[in-house]
Assembly symmetry: C2
Homo-oligomer: 318 residues x 2
Amino acid sequence: MSFFSRNKWNPASKHCYVTGGSAGLGLSLAVLLASHGAHVSIVARDTSKLDDALNKLEKARVSEDQIFRSHSFSIGTAEGANAALKAVTDEHGGLTPDAVFMCAGKSTPKFFVEMSEQDLTEGMTDGYWVQAWTAWAVTRKTVEQQRKGKLCFVSSTVGYMSFVGYASYSPGKHALRGLADTLRSELILYDIDVHIFFPTTMFTPGYEEENKTKPKITLKIEEADSGLQPEQAAAGLLKGIQNGHTHITADLITDLFRSSTRGSAPGHNFFYDSLLNGIAMVAVPFWRSSVDSLVRKHRPEHEQHLRERGFPIQDPSK
Amino acid sequence: MSFFSRNKWNPASKHCYVTGGSAGLGLSLAVLLASHGAHVSIVARDTSKLDDALNKLEKARVSEDQIFRSHSFSIGTAEGANAALKAVTDEHGGLTPDAVFMCAGKSTPKFFVEMSEQDLTEGMTDGYWVQAWTAWAVTRKTVEQQRKGKLCFVSSTVGYMSFVGYASYSPGKHALRGLADTLRSELILYDIDVHIFFPTTMFTPGYEEENKTKPKITLKIEEADSGLQPEQAAAGLLKGIQNGHTHITADLITDLFRSSTRGSAPGHNFFYDSLLNGIAMVAVPFWRSSVDSLVRKHRPEHEQHLRERGFPIQDPSK
């Protein structure tokens, strides 16, 4: 069990399957794993981005034996995730990957009352199913083959907490945490390790995209975030895996939430976690009060915004 | 804001909409609200159970003016939730309810590798969408009418933590928490209060149903749970609402998890929460180790179980 083991996980010669591997965190992680000698399979939708990504993997190659493959699949459905996994395993004698990093996902922040039915269902697909189906497909195959394995989900700081704007995204990122915490316990049955990464803001193409729909008040609340480059986030993820962390964080703010929002997942260092937890108990209420106050002050501007966009506000009916 | 107010919320003469109101927690809560003088609308699917429930509401009546109504709808879709809300508001001059209690939901525990695509999607519908669509429908209408409101979601102890067996349920219950924590912040914009209840095991018809599919190892882990009668849970829920708690709990074990898994949601009493948090920091790792050890010891029996049920386990391929 990795719980008792002090040997750090080494990607060299392991087959690593990275979803969302053509851009952002997924690409940075795929390149990092390649530079550590791993065989890397990436899956994403856009074939030209996948080609560019393969070129980057080649540049990171450290051994002639390394196998790099890319496959274009949409993995937001069970069928898509199964088909992608089949393509990935076919290149490796049908065997399941040694480690799976589920980096696919995206966020489309908006006000809840302006979200359509489609916004909410797509939010759950882009935040949750795009990873859950891969975990399901991989786990079934790995158990069939009686192999060991390693699953790493990618949640978000808003998988620990949430605020205005994230009604379509935070639920899926919390759901991933529920799934990861369940599987950490359940997959002990098969010696499959489960990890989940909670990155803060990352300066990726996806981040630029989400800022296009992000409410002003949400942008304002996030002003103080320092954010990470995807390479920094990927390095933090790999370090967490190597330290055997179940919940992985790569910045202090998210680590404060981790220490005080851990549920039944294992912590890191008891004393460090207790210290952060104590800080969080005092600091989080101050943060919340200041954010609540920002939201409250935003009311007139928000009412104006809704009226301008044709939201059918009636006169107060009291 | 309820945050500053010391006036306890009083259900008398308020219009309360209770989903899942024909059985279990929903029925007990509907009866409790009726006995406090509320107008109560209940929605569920089974019309004969709804009729029985209306009879129970009549017995709890304290004033001739109280309006009790039942409506049969399936509310696992946006369309169903909108239609149910229309029926409920039509009986009250088109006005949105003063408070909405989302008690609909169910759990179907199984081993992850034995879950079908349908098990997983239905788990999310029964755990999450059956409440999320109602919250969405109600919030939009309430903002249109510029009325105040009160939303109360019902999650579960496995919305705070999770273990073997709950891969289709815990994600939805975590997702509800992500939604509730988002909306607690966002709906400050409209003076709509948001609460979320985390009940432990409740001895309801739904509990008897879920035990039929529950893996033995999950039953064993839950052996020590004392559980609540639905009337106790309903009383705990109402007390939490009246105390202005965002996260509501009705038993000590779940309260331990609440205090140490609060994310950015407001706590209860700082000193009490700090005490519980300290206990949880020490106690939860012991609980986890013992449960992990139970799961590990369950391996041979589990492999036998999978083989008997025809799960295609291959010989170890190393």
